[in-house]
């Protein structure tokens, strides 16, 4: 395990070192950005709508009973912005995009395409890892902003049309505006940026270290997704703690 962590840290440092070549690889970065956005937007929309909805439903029914229905907007707003938006989207992207990255790089490794790159003096970190890590680090925070807004809207729909809650759009968004500030959204964005780096590095690392044929690729994909999710959840606690000390 410690060897894996060491290799991932090394890969991350080498990717940072390769940043100076990012402009040269801009076309590959655009392609990856399109791939990530195009593949995930609809899923993100559905997921976020229902997360916002279920948050409003669970909390709303309890709060309304106690005469606190007017605070649902703020509660859903902060939960989505600071926690559920970044974490749920990152888990979705780890499953959807991280697995694809590990599978693609893993099959390139298994079928000697990476060896072929090396014989042409093309660094696989520059050619394969850098564009993917940059693309996911740009795309995930954008997807999180989108997800947070859709989640707020999902909460509003349930708060308005559910007979148990029924507080109305106006009251929901008034409370959301009062409670949620830019720091909450920034908190979510910082987290999602860190999670994106985790997904990119873990998935590329697993792909690059694939051993064997199709079975090896399958193992790499599973490890990429599981390790990404575990690291995201661990990092989430420590990042939350750190950001709290900055009043975020």
């Amino acid at each position: 395990m410690f060897q894996n962590i060491g290799e991932m840290v090394l890969l991350f440092c080498r990717t940072l070192g390769a940043l100076r070549t990012a402009f040269r690889h801009r076309q590959k970065i655009y392609d990856q950005l399109f791939e990530i956005g195009n593949a995930s937007l609809l899923m993100a929309c559905i997921l976020s709508l229902f997360i916002g909805g279920v948050l409003a439903l669970q909390a709303g029914s309890v709060l309304v009973e106690r005469g606190l229905g007017n605070v649902i907007g703020g509660m859903v707003g902060v939960s989505m912005a600071k926690e559920l938006g970044p974490v749920m989207m990152s888990i979705l992207i780890a499953g959807r995009v991280g697995s694809a990255m590990a599978a693609e790089i893993g099959s390139m490794r298994a079928y000697q395409e990476i060896d072929a790159l090396r014989t042409m003096n093309i660094n696989p970190i520059h050619y394969l890892v850098l564009p993917r890590v940059i693309a996911i680090a740009c795309a995930l925070p954008l997807l999180v902003i989108f997800s947070v807004m859709v989640g707020w809207f999902g909460g509003a729909l349930v708060s308005t049309y559910n007979q148990m809650i029924n507080i109305g759009f106006q009251a929901y968004f008034n409370n959301l505006r009062q409670v949620v500030d830019i720091g909450d959204v920034l908190n979510g964005l910082i987290k999602s940026f860190a999670f994106a780096l985790v997904i990119g590095v873990v998935s590329c690392h697993q792909g690059l270290h694939t051993i064997g044929g199709p079975r090896g690729i399958g193992r790499s994909v599973t490890k990429a997704v599981v390790n990404s999710i575990v690291l995201i959840l661990i990092l989430d606690y420590f990042l939350t703690r750190l950001l709290m000390s900055f009043d975020l």
Binding site: S107, Y111, A116, R118, T119, M120, I122
Partner: protein, 256 residues
């Protein structure tokens, strides 16, 4: 591996020397104290049974594997020395072709020039078309590797190697999975290339017809050791029973 090129004379080929080369994987020795020299501009064929360490040896020569002991010298310089691999233009044609499936055939062939930004795009397109024509794949630039047959993939891989204008070219089983006619075509390509550019070629193969048809010298390797190095005639007439068995293996003899 193949340096900041084009500053060197294209006709300049290189010599390769292996000194006391040893390699083990998980404690199992694959190469055992190998010593041999490949002369400038010759076609050196390495033959041997499956699992004898031929492909691993090739990977050591191009720097994809690091030896446990010993060294590889290119023109007398150890490839482990910083900057030596960048000094020489080397290319390898993999057994599977190893074309990048995410790119078209043309993009694959021009990849080296594109990634190192060595030529403007129009010039790269011209060179790619020229090299593809040379290997009989004219006009297939836009095809994806998945649409090519095994032989076409290998020829596209040779075209990709040619773009580098190599001083040393390594072929890993260039005729495996090919029909006899295509195997002859690939063999002719290897010979033509040597005659045209005087490139040093190292070919790993099981194919006796190919080896006898193109080799200047043949090395027979078994269980990680070199049994013999000699010309085609010397190998054919060698008295060692293991070499004789490998060179003259014939199913029809067993039937009678």
């Amino acid at each position: 591996m193949n340096g900041q090129q084009n500053s060197k004379d294209n006709s300049h080929s290189v010599s390769v020397e292996a000194r006391h080369l040893s390699k083990s994987f998980s404690g199992v020795p694959v190469l055992k104290d190998l010593n041999f020299e490949v002369r400038r501009g010759e076609i050196f064929v390495i033959m041997g049974p499956s699992g004898s360490g031929k492909s691993v040896l090739l990977k050591h020569i191009i720097g994809l594997e690091t030896p446990d002991k010993g060294e590889i010298l290119i023109d007398g310089e150890s490839i482990q020395t910083e900057g030596v691999m960048d000094k020489y233009r080397m290319a390898m044609v993999f057994q599977s072709g190893a074309l990048l499936n995410s790119l078209s055939v043309g993009e694959n062939v021009g990849l080296y020039l594109t990634e190192h930004q060595l030529k403007p795009p129009e010039e790269i397109r011209r060179i790619v078309a020229e090299k593809l024509e040379l290997v009989g794949l004219k006009g297939l630039e836009e095809r994806s590797p998945g649409e090519l047959s095994g032989g076409m993939k290998k020829r596209a891989a040779i075209a990709r190697a040619l773009v580098i204008e190599p001083q040393l070219i390594l072929y890993d089983e260039p005729t495996s999975e090919l029909d006899p006619l295509m195997a002859v075509t690939i063999g002719e390509e290897i010979l033509n290339l040597k005659n045209r550019t005087h490139v040093t070629s190292i070919v790993v193969s099981h194919d006796r017809d190919l080896a006898f048809g193109i080799a200047d010298r043949i090395a027979i390797i078994n269980e990680g050791k070199i049994l013999f190095i000699g010309t085609v005639d010397e190998v054919k007439n060698h008295s060692d029973p293991l070499i004789k068995k490998f060179i003259h293996a014939d199913l029809t003899q067993n039937k009678t």
